[in-house]
Amino acid sequence: MTTGYPLLRSLQISFYNWSVVPTQVSKFIGLDNYIRALGDEQFWTGMVNAAVYLLLTVPATVAIGLFFATLLHARMPARALFRVLFYIPVVTSWVVVSLLFKYLFTTNDGAVNWFLTDFLHLTSESIPWLEQRWTALIAISALGVWKSVGWCLVVFLAALSGVREELYEAAALDGANAWQRFLHVTVPGIRGTLLFVLVLQVIGAFNVFPSVLLMTNGGPAGSTEVPLTYMYKQAFSFLDFGYGSAMSFILAIFIFVISFLQFRFFGEKKEVGS
């Protein structure tokens, strides 16, 4: 009820030039808000930024999460402690970690610049991370990966414990090395979970919001705006509820189609919906 009603209402609002003042009549304008969004350069900049964020975060998060899950699946000292440490970023509020990363990515004397210049000696100049579009997206993505790796790890660990040990032994007897065992036993064994994680991460990437709001606030000059920060500003700073709703609907449809395609291409028929 609490989701269904607002959803329909959202669709309704998106067809109006919605008036915030209750006494004024909102004007029905049909698809105008949608047409406006599709022609709005700032909206597309946001979509491109979200796509870049997706490419920078999703493969890395899934790969790193799976990598550490595979390592932590075997017995080792302090295993439970490691699992806790990896998971702490996940439970920490977005506000805290966003401000923390803003601090780490400070241009002069920031920890990341120190690490790259004085520790690894990769570059001699400080990078103005949050002051230009692409480096800012890299910084925001770094936060995205760091914060979600633990979640992927825990989900993969649960899935790995469901893969039968005999399969590994059989593969080892057949002379498969660690990488072959991973590819031919682990991956098929956790296929359903892999798909689930992938779909959720992609959805999450298009919904990136608080980190952008707090790290760059879409700046400089709107160049790091993502769909939701732009939508949010239109709705709640400029009080253009109709336009905001239309944009969130376009985004929702887009996410739905992408998720559907992922199930179509990566999922076996049986696993769809599981």
Partner: protein
Amino acid sequence: MRAHPGWAVVRFIVVAVGAVFMIAPFLIMISTSLEPNTSILPSPPHFFPQEVTLDNYVRAITENNFGGYFLNSLFVSVATTVATVAISAMTAFAFARFDFRFKNVVFSLLLAGLMIPGIVIIVPQFILAKNLGMVDSLWGLVFFYTAGQIAFTTFLLRAFFERVPHELDEAMTVDGAGIVRKFVGLYIPLARPALATAAVFSFLGGWDEYVWALTVITDPLKRTLPLGIAAFQGAHTTAWGLVFAASVVAVLPVVIVYVAGQKHFIAGIAAGAVK
């Protein structure tokens, strides 16, 4: 699987290095919060404080009504947890043990609610909150947080209730127990671990939430911790020590709840993900 003994050492070192990367930002945060004069960034960054002072904590807690934010967050999270667990226990019980018309349709709607990202419906939710007079009120936050979390916790608890053996249920029927007595005397005690999982999730959900609170709360006295900390940053652009002292105070309960309820938490994630 027999592996080379050296492999175990390598594996341990790799995991440890990974863990250092996960924890290093927190170390920098904590040591910054404990150091005086943090408007100048130390280079190299301090992973451990060089000079310990609690000044930032004292200032963070005494200035800017931080204690108020903390209490607001505590109230909202606890009320959300109680409401979510109570309501979803009842709905999950109904889905698990009753047959009613359109049961599957209603449950599918509930699951669909899980799939739709909350932010997509933020505009109509805001209008709804306004019409219900729930803007700028802590109870309003509790109402919408609870509404947002019921789908997941119902889903979690239903699976658990369904696994309660029918024989126990029937034995109680033979003893003349009604629905309410079964629910209170049998299902609730058996579901304690699942209820704990639901409670941990809803507490953390309420504690960390930012976007909805940002949208509906305008009165500075009603700010929750995430709002307070974000505003702190604006008000003290360079005083990172203050911002991080406030952050540490805000993160501490989360880490305690998480570490204490770790088992339940992991179980919840696994139940949601691996089917």
